[in-house]
Symmetry: C2
Subunit: 363 residues, 2 copies
């Protein structure tokens, strides 16, 4: 080495440096930091004094609780910070019966939003809401029934009807993909409590500072509530929000009836509602959502949700807000299920969000 | 730019390339791929025919199960592959009441084994065993009691006695660290079933091929059982294994009595047992484990575990095995709890494992 001409050394070094495609680091993401933490939550305390000698042995089902605590009801967060990170982090919040896995690999094994947005240099924060997944510790007991219900979710998640996929649906026909999709489901480990969930997400934004919240389905409505609590939420992207649309209490619209239920809006004081007019919001819905009533409940609740979202968009914007409602087929993206973030065209779905973030100065 | 002399461009490029410490990519890990998947598991089926129109609406507590399935009992895996990865992946398996969070950030927010070993270019696979954390879906029902028991675990996890830390324990005195530690606990979401757990981990090694298993506490004994099932497990590092030490059935030692319980060994046919003599195994225990009986159950079960591990090491090695039993204080590492991988000195603990992996040709 010491005898090589200096220029040759330079050339060799440069070759190694500027030709990443010829090395095994092709496409590697420079990951500066990653980790996990719990945020929010409560502490339950039992009266009395804990005696470590008398009660310090593991004795399942027959353990003295005297003087003991239980730390629960927190959210669990996994975060990744890329090198040369953009300023505003994206916080990804799953929907009903789901966990942070919604945003990780797709059921057919491709990259999900976690990795796609990390590659685009966003700090990414994935959360499990209180009493779900890695945040399983609840201060209140529950029973998990383990009832069979995959086909119910096949319908509600709009993969198809019964066991038949919709024609041209953006979901792999490899049976292993559907098997993986079902195995993303994970139960509540305590009673579902929206107030606890919103408090934990608000606590996360207290920790993070300014950021953008990305919600899915059941977290959509909870996301509006979190934004009412915390000004650090500087924008929201909501995939298929289903319930809890928030209106000023003197403008709450009529409930919407659909096959299987009734969708009611939520009223809050006008001054509170107006906070939702101060941040940019985008809402995305996928395909197979009819405009008029049908007999299939798996489509009906989304017909109601879109109808409510249309009214909400109009009202928030009439009060000076900045809500964009996108039905993906209108943008040329067809075949999307209730999970556009992990559908076969999820790169195109992600590009729409990237464009919106850029347009709103949130990137 | 086009007017800069070629050599100057080279020099600038080289500077950017060889001075990572002066850029924002300082310490960045080149991450080639990451993702999640489920592995193992069963499918529960209810008789009948699912009617998507009659039963396709969400109706909690009153849902027809006819003709439906439930995919459950799988493990959930999160993996990361660094650029220029080493050949053998490390598979990290949590202990009782824990999840993959055991291996992620430490309770005081430093890097855990996931990131430490990723920086050392190991492919890392973290798992949640069936019916735990992100693998929450169980085919059998359960009730989660939500009883207060933090102080019990404070003792069993050997942070101290009652609410008092051991002197010089390798655990942060920042109350936020203890709060985070307690919030790592997450409940079983179905009946604990060692056979299911072992089957899922064996299925993971079928998928991965050769690799090294890293266990903690309750997964220690399950790890021996997994190695009996799957030859792709080429080595095991066990942190504080507590039970299920496997002997040939004609060599099962006497049970060990301790304050709070009895530790029994497990017998298997000799030919099965002998598989454990064919792979290198290292076992680590931390501090505060007495040699003679004491009155504190939080220490007693580990006294029994170490005594059993000593006998096991002797027997496996007498049959040609390669087991190394390390009590960390003997290597100059003092103050370790039941969680050496996340204690304040976890970098030194990791270095011992790196050295062992190198010595056994597993790196």
């Amino acid at each position: 080495m010491p005898y090589l001409p200096a220029l040759l050394i330079l050339l060799l070094t440069v070759t190694a440096c500027v030709s990443p495609r010829s090395t095994t680091t092709e496409g590697a993401i420079p990951l500066a930091r990653q980790g996990t933490f719990a945020v929010g939550g409560t502490v339950k305390r039992s009266p009395g004094t804990f005696d470590p000698v008398a009660h310090g042995a593991f004795n399942p089902g027959n353990q003295s609780t005297a003087g003991q605590t239980l730390h629960g009801d927190h959210a669990a967060v996994f975060y990744q910070l890329p090198a040369r990170a953009r300023e505003l982090p994206l916080v990804f919040w799953h929907g009903y019966g789901q966990s942070m896995r919604t945003w990780q690999s797709t059921p057919d094994g491709r990259e999900g939003f976690q990795t796609i947005f990390l590659r685009h240099r966003f700090p990414v924060y994935l959360l499990d809401q209180p009493r779900r997944g890695l945040a399983g510790r609840s201060t209140e007991p529950t029973t998990i029934a383990a009832n069979t219900d995959d086909q119910l979710w096949f319908g509600i998640f709009r993969l198809g009807v019964g066991t038949e996929f919709y024609p041209d649906v953006q979901f792999s026909r490899d049976p292993a993909a559907l098997d993986q999709f079902y195995r993303q489901i994970t139960p509540d480990t305590g009673p579902l409590n929206i107030d606890l969930n919103v408090a934990a997400v608000s606590a996360l934004f207290d920790t993070l500072g300014a950021g953008v919240l990305v919600t899915h389905s059941h977290s959509g409505g909870q996301g509006w509530l979190a934004a009412l609590e915390n000004d650090n939420i500087r924008g929201i992207a909501a995939y298929e929000p289903g319930s809890n649309f928030v209106f000023a209490e003197d403008e709450v619209p009529e409930p919407i009836e659909y096959v299987g239920g009734t969708l009611r809006a939520r009223g809050v004081p006008r001054a509170t509602f107006e906070r939702l007019t101060r941040i940019p919001i985008v809402i995305y819905y996928g395909d197979y959502i009819p405009d008029a009533p049908v007999d299939n409940p798996g489509q009906e609740q989304w017909r109601a949700a879109v109808a409510m979202a249309r009214q909400w968009t109009e009202v928030v914007n009439a009060h000076g807000g900045d809500v964009t409602l996108v039905q993906l087929p209108d943008r040329g993206l067809r075949g999307n299920t209730h999970f556009p973030m992990s559908d076969l065209n999820n790169q195109a779905v992600a590009q729409l969000l990237l464009d919106w973030l850029a347009e709103k100065g949130l990137d």
